[in-house]
């Protein structure tokens, strides 16, 4: 209450949500779209614990947010007071750091430190848990211009010797492959990445978080690798003799069965977080550095080491494989299939448009078929796989980038988890477009039950409710249902010109699978479909 009272006199824009989880997702979407730190705030106890899902989502995807929670008065902490929750205890495992200032004098330096920690190095969420009496108190305070946090590393430059070694390995490699993770996007290293890739003619696969780190229209882009990776990426990883992994953590969804992930190639791993080195994958050369600085230095070293253009045979092969797969992809005769819908959406949207996704089939279809052309224009819950993420994240992204179209690619199941954000988007006038790929199912679980449990569908059918266009209208948003690709195009174009959030309900076949797929725990060679 005291903080909200002061907020009335401040220049900070406050956006009122209908559920705290959405607040954290909005702050996260804001941060990912803009490179700035997003902020969310909730009351003590249940308000604070409701933020946790969103904080954990930001944590696993290294998104910089500062979450402020109310806390009972210092004298009541530990007494199980009304709406008390141990937020430091609950949040510590899912934050980069958590603070609980116990004196009003500590607030300025705490806030400064929180933003510093959230936004530098490997970004992540920081929690400030603010006891009531500390909020109420007043004091003469100083606002520090700069803070240092001892025990917090801020030197992210690469070791030049190791860069030299990496350049040598890559210069001698005949079939290099680059795996770009979310770290490339976080450090704004797309240009540097592309320059290195073009220099050694290495195809670039990305993790889900790295999608958009290289334009997916680029001849060297081979799409996503992993469980729902592209065929080219999952195949070429086994043919490469050297893997340069940048800003990625070799998650299980990316590598498949770890022992069989690029077993014969040399692996160079660049990451800003020393604890990622050897956590999942043992590597031959580790460079602890900011991705942009490392790639810049690596490019410089390669220019000195390389004497001629090489790997032309390897790049020819990449081109052939890509072309072969392109032809195969166009064979469906039906109209409203997810691949067609997403390719059509790409055709309609400008390159700078931001797309968020929910979690499940919609997300994997988007990652396979929606080509991302610019970094920070594809926003998805990768690590945490948090259903309900996409819609509030789209509102956050739109707040950060009001002049850019923002579209949430949704599934019906995920959208229902945070659909009450419609109220926020309408009342706060933050218009986005929601495209619901509606199979009236928890589609991804249904897909697993279809493929691995002999079609025994358990707890996946959502029935025919709600009527999404009517639901949208009930909130004062626009609601449309489309029955053909043509209607879909028209609806999307209309929504982009509209001034209110539009929900486009696109009925799809509930039997539709996301393919290709590598079953959990299998090697990336074991592709279905």
């Amino acid at each position: 209450m005291p903080v909200y009272d002061i907020l009335l006199d401040s220049k900070i824009r406050h956006i009122l949500v209908r559920h705290e989880q959405s607040a954290a997702h909005m702050a996260d979407g804001y941060a990912r779209a803009s490179r700035k730190t997003g902020v969310c705030m909730a009351t003590s106890g249940p308000g604070a614990t409701n933020l946790i899902t969103g904080i954990a989502t930001a944590h696993l995807d290294s998104s910089p947010i500062v979450a402020i929670t109310g806390q009972v008065s210092t004298s009541q902490i530990g007494l199980d007071a009304f709406q008390e929750a141990d937020m430091i205890g609950i949040a510590s495992p899912v934050t980069k750091y958590s603070f609980q200032p116990r004196r009003v004098e500590d607030i300025p330096v705490t806030v400064k430190k929180a933003f510093h920690i959230a936004s530098t190095g490997r970004p992540g969420p920081v929690l400030i848990d603010l006891p009531k009496d500390v909020q109420m108190d007043s004091a003469e305070v100083e606002f520090p211009v700069k803070v240092t946090v001892r025990g917090y590393r801020t030197d992210y430059k690469p070791d030049p010797e190791k860069i030299g070694l990496a350049a040598e390995i890559l210069a001698n490699s005949k079939r290099p492959l680059i795996l770009a993770g979310g770290g490339v996007i976080l450090s704004n290293a797309s240009e540097e990445l592309q320059r290195v890739a073009e220099t050694i003619l290495a195809p670039v696969a990305t993790s889900l978080m790295g999608k958009g780190s290289i334009s997916e229209d680029h001849p060297l882009s081979i799409g996503i690798i992993g469980m729902h990776g592209s065929k080219e990426a999952n195949r070429l990883i086994y043919e490469a003799d050297t893997l340069l992994a940048v800003g990625c953590r070799f998650s299980d969804r990316t590598t498949g069965k770890l022992d069989e992930f690029c077993p014969t190639s040399k692996v160079i791993h660049i990451d800003i977080d020393a604890a990622e080195i050897g956590k999942n994958k043992c590597v031959d050369l580790a460079i602890i550095s900011d991705a942009k600085m490392a790639l810049e230095a690596l490019y410089g070293a390669l220019m000195k080491t390389l004497t001629e253009k090489k790997n032309t045979e390897w790049s020819r092969k990449i081109k052939e494989i890509k072309e072969a797969n392109n032809v195969k992809a166009e064979d469906s005769s039906r109209d409203l299939t997810p691949p067609k819908i997403l390719k059509e959406l790409r055709r309609i949207l400008p390159p700078e448009a931001i797309v968020t996704t929910e979690v499940g089939q919609n997300q994997m279809w988007a990652s396979l078929y929606f080509k991302v052309l610019k970094p920070r224009t594809f926003i998805t819950s990768g690590g945490f796989g948090c259903m309900g993420y996409g819609f509030p994240a789209s509102i956050g992204a739109k707040t950060a980038m009001p002049n850019v179209p923002v579209v949430d690619i949704a599934g019906d199941g995920s959208f229902m988890m945070t659909e009450n954000s419609l109220a926020t988007s309408v009342t706060e006038n933050i218009p986005v477009t929601v495209i619901i790929l509606n199979n009236r199912m928890l589609g991804m679980v249904a897909q697993w039950q279809r493929l691995f449990y002999n079609r025994r569908y358990s707890a996946v059918s959502l029935g025919d409710v709600p009527d999404f266009p009517k639901l949208a209208e009930a909130y004062g948003a626009e609601g449309l249902r489309v029955g053909s690709l043509e209607e879909f195009s028209k609806a999307v174009k209309e929504s982009l010109e509209g001034e209110v959030t539009t929900v486009i309900d696109v009925p799809i076949d509930p039997e539709e699978n996301v393919l290709p797929m590598v079953p959990a725990g299998y090697s990336l060679k074991d592709v279905i479909g």
Partner: protein, 168 residues
């Protein structure tokens, strides 16, 4: 074959830090044998000495994960060959029987321990040394009236001037 590793970590001496560090052990699934903690060379610093059982890789990861925590200022593996490693144990024994009482006195001498408390029916023995030495004493006395054991866990410093410390 899992080995035992010793890690020395310098941490902020303030509330919540022990929780954050031990929470990380749990979350990352480390097999921690013991943790000894106390104020370090500066009032606002505490030193944790952590022993962990595992492979080489586990020890390396533990150091990285410790250093990643903002409240951990420094962490390093100690080479057991180049470190002084000690543990202190207080061991309460049933000493009502005069025969047993004299055996206890004898063993304490062999183990270079001290009797720090005696009552008509009990004695508390203090032993300082390696973990193995303390284990051996406890095993020896298990059959005749071992009542209570309190151990500090191993604590250690590198021999010579090399240190795990921060410049002030």
């Amino acid at each position: 074959m899992p080995k035992t590793f010793i890690i020395s970590a310098l941490v902020e001496h303030k509330p919540g830090v022990l929780y954050k560090v031990s929470n990380m052990f749990w979350r990352r699934g480390f097999n921690i044998e013991s943790v000894a903690i106390g104020t370090a060379e500066q009032e606002d610093l505490a030193r944790m000495t952590i022993t962990i059982k595992g492979e080489e890789r586990d020890a390396e990861q533990l150091v990285s994960q410790l250093e990643k925590l903002i409240d951990v200022l420094k962490a390093a593996r100690l080479d057991p060959q180049k470190a002084v490693i000690r543990e202190l144990a207080l061991i309460k024994l049933n000493a009502a029987d005069p025969k047993i009482r004299s055996d206890i006195f004898h063993y304490v001498e062999v183990f270079r321990g001290r009797i720090v408390d005696v009552s008509p029916t009990s004695a508390i023995v203090e032993i300082v040394g390696s973990k193995d030495k303390i284990d051996a004493f406890i095993n020896l006395t298990r059959d005749f009236g071992l009542m209570e054991v309190a151990r500090t866990g191993e604590t250690a410093l590198i021999r010579g001037p090399e240190s795990v410390r921060i410049d002030v």
